[in-house]
């Protein structure tokens, strides 16, 4: 049970790993993505933080990202950000 998560910036592929859940700061509200989430596309609020949960119940890892776009499809979650970290 894992969600494949990728974080990509124009400079490089920042993350590509399997995680439990990611909370994405969408421009119309935060949403959590677990495995099997329906296909979705959303823009991301500027200067917001991604919360990455490596496993259920674990403390989230916060990652600051600037401007971007999140896509969920059957393969997992892909976040395209202009800058990360």
């Amino acid at each position: 049970m894992a969600l494949h998560f990728e974080l990509v910036t124009p400079e490089r592929l920042v993350r590509s790993e399997d995680v439990y859940m990611v909370v994405v700061p969408g421009s119309e509200g935060d949403f959590g993505v677990l495995e099997g989430h329906m296909a979705a596309m959303s823009t991301i609020r500027s200067d917001a933080e991604l919360a990455i949960y490596a496993s259920a119940g674990a403390a989230p890892e916060m990652l600051k990202i600037t401007g971007g776009f999140a896509e969920v499809n059957e393969k997992g979650l892909t976040v395209l950000a202009e800058a990360a970290g």
């Binding site: 776009f69 059957e74 395209l80």
Partner: protein, 293 residues
Amino acid sequence: MASLKALKIRINSVKSTQKITKAMKMVAAAKLRRAQDAAEASRPYAERLEKVVSSIASKVERSPQAPKLLAGTGKDDVHLFVVCTSDKGLAGAFNTNIVRLARRSAEELKAAGKTVKFYTVGRKGRDQLNRTFRNDMVHGVEPGDLGKIGFDKVQEWAADLTARFEVGEFDVAHLFFSKFVSVLTQEPTQLQLMPVAVAADGSGSAGASAAVEYEPDEEEILADLLPRNVAVQLLRAQRENAASEQGSKMTAMDNATRNAGDMINRLTIQYNRTRQAAITTELVEIIAGAEAL
């Protein structure tokens, strides 16, 4: 025949030139590796963005309110050529090849009665195009070291270009840069930048994304994505150019080093011959003198 001293000076001068070209070759080789890594690292973003843009674009296209960046201005009278070159020379035919491709396309379009304008990135491209298209230059930027260009800088250019497009300064924009194939081959490439060239509706993606939830709606996402796509394409062009420039420079400097080596050999032979001739002359003089006594 040149004097011994002149030859000696000449040999030394070619030797120091060879040292410089050899050093430049090694610098280019080191920079090439970094530039190549950077070019590869920026590929995933560009690829994914392209996929997303074309999958949304294939759906929105039918609506009459489609963004200008996608639908275009409805004309193709004025073409803008964004020609990306570098600021420095000494890289073989790197800059010339890009300019040549741009010039050829420009002449074709002009023959078809279109207007062509130039927006140059890099000093070399601007200088070369200035010779033939002095009155068509719109703007030129100097990027400095190609390997150190960040996304923020490219975004400035993209914003400038998008603004010019929105006010109708041109109808179609083409991007010219050199694609890095290998150290020995760099391919000058032309790419349509604006409006976005959408690949024919991929039937596979349309089926898979039928039930996608958009937040906010497609149009707003697209309005956000399209300017970003311009910036990403520009960044990709810069990265490819950076790698190509170093590759081209490495080859050029390698040739220069070899040529210098050949020249040193030739001059050394000439030097030795001249020296031998001088010795022979001296001997003949001594013998002649001794026989006269």
